[in-house]
């Protein structure tokens, strides 16, 4: 049951009763995606906020020359949306794509607004989750400003070893902000055979 993961995840932050948790979870619709399938493309309006029950997605942007740059990966238990496009219902500049066969529990903007009204603790839930995301992104920003690609790569595999295994090197490179050729050279230098 994909809803169990969602229930467990939210109860970590907010003390919902069983009924409240059910009200919360029932506002989400499960959707399955095949590898390479897009949930959102730049120019579209993001109609969902999703909780990944299974699989792995990526959120990325294209630069002027067609290069892909990964904002984040979303494996199981992560949330995925274009926050700006979703909250303001305006055109996105991001792509959201499944990397593996994935199941995502999705909520619409209207249903999320209903949740805020029906269960006030929802405010706190998303405030806290947003704060954690912000702290993590601040760390990554500082890492981008201050560390060399070698150090960023080591930090990434150190922090997310299981995820690093699931991703191709191209995806990892697009997250680190380097070319996959250079990542290959870093790995050789570090003697990483894995």
């Amino acid at each position: 049951m994909p809803y169990e993961r969602l229930k467990t995840a939210i109860l970590k932050h907010v003390p919902f009763s069983d009924e409240e948790a059910a009200t919360f979870c029932n506002a989400f619709q499960p959707q399955r995606y095949k590898p390479k399938e897009y949930l959102l493309r730049a120019g579209e309006i993001c109609r969902f906020e999703g909780f990944v029950a299974q699989g792995c997605l990526r959120v990325f942007a294209l630069d002027a020359r067609g290069g892909e740059h990964v904002l984040y990966f979303a494996p199981e238990d992560w949330w995925v949306t274009d926050l700006d496009s979703f909250t303001n219902q305006q055109p996105s500049w991001l792509f959201v794509q499944a990397l593996e066969p994935s199941t995502v529990l999705q909520i619409t903007k209207a249903d999320k607004d209903r949740l805020y009204a029906a269960l006030p603790a929802t405010e706190k839930l998303f405030r806290i989750m947003g704060q954690k995301t912000l702290v993590a992104l601040q760390r990554r920003m500082l890492s981008a400003l201050s560390q060399t690609a070698d150090a960023r790569y080591l930090a990434f595999v150190g922090k997310y070893p299981a995820l690093a295994q699931r991703l191709t090197q191209q995806q990892v490179a697009a997250y680190l902000g380097i070319t996959h050729e250079f990542l290959s050279k870093i790995r050789r230098r570090l003697g990483q055979k894995k």
Copy 2:
């Protein structure tokens, strides 16, 4: 009156009555800082969340070799804290320093928690402000991943022209993730005399 700026700022996001707004604002204490004065140093626990009523601060980190890297600047109407250290009351890895003579309205963790309890809309207020900060940081992260230093510099002065005037080039460079020497060369190349 420094509280007027704070009141105006919060009423943009949340419909407080005059009494509620007063309750909110009175939880904050004004503090004045001289240029170069530190509000927080790495290793300390961040005891405040602040609203800048006047002046300008910077939040930065040191790398292994002593280089400074700016996470963000906080001029008038911006909020400033080490979110991680403040919310979890654990040692910080950041520095917060005044760049100009500044007045900051500050709240402690305990008083902020009291606000959350006394005025539930406070949850919404900080959820929304957090979301906006997150969206802005996502944009900056993608810019760091995908753009050259020239483009990032132009984007910065384009987005924050007044702020760029107030800062030294060293500060701007530490925000862009380049050396101030290289920033100087970029500016020459662009023919910027300002």
